[in-house]
Symmetry: none
DNA sequence: ACTTAAACGAGACGGTACGTCGCGTCTTTCG
DNA sequence: CGAAAGACGCGACGTACCGTCTCGTTTAAGT
């Protein structure tokens, strides 16, 4: 499940115990000391692993961290879906409030900021991220919006990718840029504003 | 006008020539080598300055970079305003396309990503950023939206801060996360979508 | 009383309070932190004096330290003489034991080693040292030996400079090189050996 | 063959090439720039070695220099002896003149002063010096004197350690303190004076 | 007493070296 | 023979001092 191989050593012989220890250590450490002070040496020491074992299988600490995220989401299978009670606005608010909770959870905050940072500075990693993590999530969201669209609740010509951007972009940007606090109220109001649009209706 | 003092040495004797050389060097270097490889030593060498002169006045390379940004916007005075032709949608598209151009400009791309990274990991710096850069910009945007609101073009009960988030958040998030390319078309469509909302109107 | 002038600023206006504070601080500091960690900045800070005031009057920290030694011996006037009871051996043992005590005194040990180090590495300073400190001391010693020589107790053709070397050289070398402990017994035996010579007498 | 370990890293893996390069560089540099301006950075650069490799194995630049001296005397084996023609005075003059030549040789002068300085300020280093360099030399000298003593040429109750001190101490002290020039004549006269003693003989 | 030039404290400045940390590579040893 | 252990050349870190250079502020001479 490695992200990017260097020159692909004999992957068959790879020690799964070491791999898990490395990813776990990386995830824990980034939460403890922050991304800037995360070091390969530190990960190796915490994991009880030689540095070479990390360099053999990952090209950068960003890649290690990324795989650590993948490992977290491993057991989930592809079946996840957003709730669909028929009430789109309520369903979206529920989801958005859950997102707020996750972003406010200190166990996830630092590691996710670290991942975002890496993605922002590394187009290659960004591509893998889109393919492996962001893409599937986006599909799940679009599926729910598509259902609403078919039910006549969303504009017929609505671009669902744009819709996802307009719904989640403001929240993520507020989080990353620390523009303001992430509260359930903000989540609700965001959904309402995005759904209704800014224009005045007579 | 330094951002954050360490223990405030005798600021009166501060050399303005050194200060400017440091900020210029920092801005240039971050564009050339990227934020990860930006080093205090490198900045000092390029600026022809002792390292201590940097450490004396700035607590981190992030703070230096931030002041470099401030220096860029120094001459602008507070008078800036968004265009107001009466046609809100057209005005916003114009502005958003300009933003797209700026973000696509390689001279600004790297430095701005670097600044975003720093803000994301440093709440103190984020606070200064909000106060000195983001806040004033947001005020300018809100002023234009307020005019439109008074003209009856925007919802009467619209929260202008939320409006700014919904208009610019998606674009900035797309840029930072590299979700997709930033094009003028995307800018236009974003404005339309945000103004009209996602809902179906009969 | 300054050792070596740089380009002789107006010495008339020199602040004697500062001069004394500097020399005192230097002497104390070298005893506390050792010569290697003695710094001009440290001396200036301890003396409550600007660095420039030191650089204005002394060319190096070795020169400062040297003047500090001179200041110590200031009040002594030129009258000093070695004891002369008529019993040369006893008189020399007395003097040598006193030297041992001084060299074992921790308040003088470090500073004197420091001075020795400077002299060893700086021929200019060594010249001043010979002229101002070592020379006068040597004269005093030679004066006592001369008396003994006239009294027929020392060889008629004895070179008194060489005699001083043979008497004090072994002790000073043992101290500087830490060849062994400096004890009163060693002092006595040294006097005896030097006086009698190594040869067998039938 | 390292003098003093810090916390003994895995010495088995130590690179002998680096070790030799470091010691050679240190010895050369101290002769070129003097001890005061000798720097670990300089040694590392000249030796083509990382600074850490020096800090890993030596606690100070003094220790490096000391090992450099040890390396010089490595091939000599323990068999060295002072000449023994039966004429003690002539033999000692020969040896002492050789010592004078060595101390006057600019290639050895600076480094040996540097070593002396370090020994003077560092009791630990002094202990190692006594054990590894000074002690063996002293044994060799004492062996020659012992032979003379058995031959009835030296006093029967003569303390040979004291004898070594009285013979070599004055010369070394004159050299270190720069009391006067080191000449063959001085060497000869020193031997004569020490052997005969200062006292008048009828 | 008043003026004035220096010496003074303070400390910023361009530098050099410090001793440490982590990088990514390489080599040795062990299970 | 893969993995731990860790030495290595390297580069940057943040700190301490170097010696030079302004800055006001005493301070003591010579008007």
């Amino acid at each position: 499940m490695t992200t990017r191989r260097q020159n692909t050593p004999n992957a068959a012989r790879r020690s799964d115990a070491s791999r898990r220890a490395i990813l776990t250590a990386a995830f824990e450490l980034v939460g403890e000391v922050g991304y800037a002070k995360l070091s390969i040496e530190g990960i190796a020491a915490r994991a009880g692993v030689g540095k070479q074992t990390i360099y053999r299988w990952w090209p950068s600490k960003g890649a290690v961290l990324f795989d650590a995220f993948l490992m977290l989401g491993e057991g989930e299978g592809g079946e996840a879906a957003l709730p669909d009670t028929g009430d789109l606005e309520a369903d979206l608010k529920l989801v958005m409030r859950a997102t707020v909770d996750e972003l406010n959870d200190p166990r996830f905050d630092e590691p996710m900021r670290a991942l975002s940072t890496e993605i922002s500075h590394d187009p290659d990693l960004a591509a893998v991220y889109r393919e492996r993590l962001d893409g599937p999530m986006r599909e799940i969201k679009k599926r729910r919006l598509e259902a609403a669209q078919r039910a006549g609740q969303l504009a017929e010509d609505l671009d669902l990718d744009m819709a996802v951007d307009v719904l989640w972009g403001p929240l993520l940007n507020r989080w990353l840029q620390r523009t303001g606090p992430l509260t359930p109220e903000y989540a609700d109001k965001l959904i309402e504003t995005a759904l209704n649009g800014l224009r005045h209706r007579r």
